[in-house]
Amino acid sequence: MADTLPLKHSVPVRHALAMYWRALAAQVRSIIEYPADLWVMASAGAVWNLLQFAFLAVLFSTVPDVEGWGFHEMLLLSGLLSIAGGANALLFDGAWSTGQMVIKGDIDYRLTRPAPVVLQVGSSHIGLQSFGELLLGFAMFVYGWIGAGLGPAWIPVGLFAIACAAVIQCGLVTALCAVNFWIKSPMSMFAFLMIDLQGGAMKLPLGVFPAAVRVISLFIVPVAFVNVVPVAVIAGHMSAWWLIGTPVTALFAVVLAAGVYRLGLRAYDSAGH
């Protein structure tokens, strides 16, 4: 397939983004057709976050702090991670279908369309749990923000951190899902592994873990820049210089996702070959 179809389409960015938003809007219309699924999935996202809140509340009723981090600072960690996960599910959930599409040859007709394949795949699905995740994630973030006594002066930094967190999460998940161009599995194991371990480890301060885990989460698979680094800077646990790493990581994640996807498309040989 890669030999017969040119991969380099010169598509204006405005056209590509317009296609992306129209595809997402079409997904929203299809969601409304199945209200039971919407409510079950949104409730699942909300309940998961409620239980995270309950976990922290129960833990901090017994301990005063975790590695110097208080209850409200830990809420900021959990909240920002939920927002990043919710944004990924809302804006680029289709990336999870990459493996399935590669096996079934569903990438074929996306290659023939005049729009970037990665955007077409990313906008092919919306994770309904995102509504619950985003709602409760923002609630935890705001509650933690107020409880930690952070002033309005930090709000622009907080909004910037949220935007970067969403981009990093989408980029890293998409890059790891694109590995399925080579390993030919319907399940995106590497991406799933990342979000599962990230969901456990990145809700805790980095100081809890051995040095190797800190190095990996900061510099190898930079998930710490999704929530831990920005929250640590805002809460005064890390120097403000670390904040520079957040947009740099966001840019890296986007380039990585686009690059791995492009390489994957070159390796793509449709179904049955």
Partner: protein
Amino acid sequence: MSHTTAVDRALIVISFKRRLAYKSGWVFGLALGGGAMLISMAMWHNLLGTGSLSGYDWESMRAYLIIGFIAATMVFGASDFTIADRILDGHIAVDMTKPVDFQRARGAEYIGSMISTAPTAAVGVLGAWLLFDPPGPATPVAGVLTAVSFLLLFPLAFGITYLSILVCFWTKRYLGIMWLREALLSFFSGMMIPLAFMPGWLQAVSWALPFPHFTATPAAIYLGQVDVPGALGLIAAEAAWVVGLWFAGRLVFRFAVRKVTVHGG
């Protein structure tokens, strides 16, 4: 051996072999469960140090987390999606024509897939034992009773999973139902945080549900937090949930099956 027992055994073996065919699943399950266990170990080691909290010191917490890992590997590694897919894609219409009880057949398949998680659990426990050297059971009797409570997890996990899967008769997808069930199970079983840390009212709510038998019950027996009559009481409660959930599944299925739609028809 009666005909139905032979069918059960055949379905268990088929499901077991089907799962074993995908060996990458073992590694994946080990990475997921083992990773989660290591994260919890790091957190509790940091919090407990040389002291204790809510009756747990670092020694007992190590054993508790390994018990949680075994339960999570068994329950979260089982093949619930195959049952849900039968309802969602309409295969259930064919199943209804077979001279096999639908619930019993799915139960046999589910238990077969749970048994297939044994290699993952065994390797994980061996690794954890070598790394963390947890204490053994409080007494030999406690060890035996812990094993009994783990054996009851097979039908108990199926009962909860089957009941939740029946919701697929009203929805078009299963993923949200699975997340909801796993979230509730993780929290109320004590996998996320031991129930002893919770306020009294939340502990009461947890123990009124079937979930604590996935971690809190085997851990309490293993660590000697309950005496032999107490352990037998917990096991009896676990067995009662197994029976109750089985009949609840039958009851709900009777109503749910009227909702079956195949490709919109």
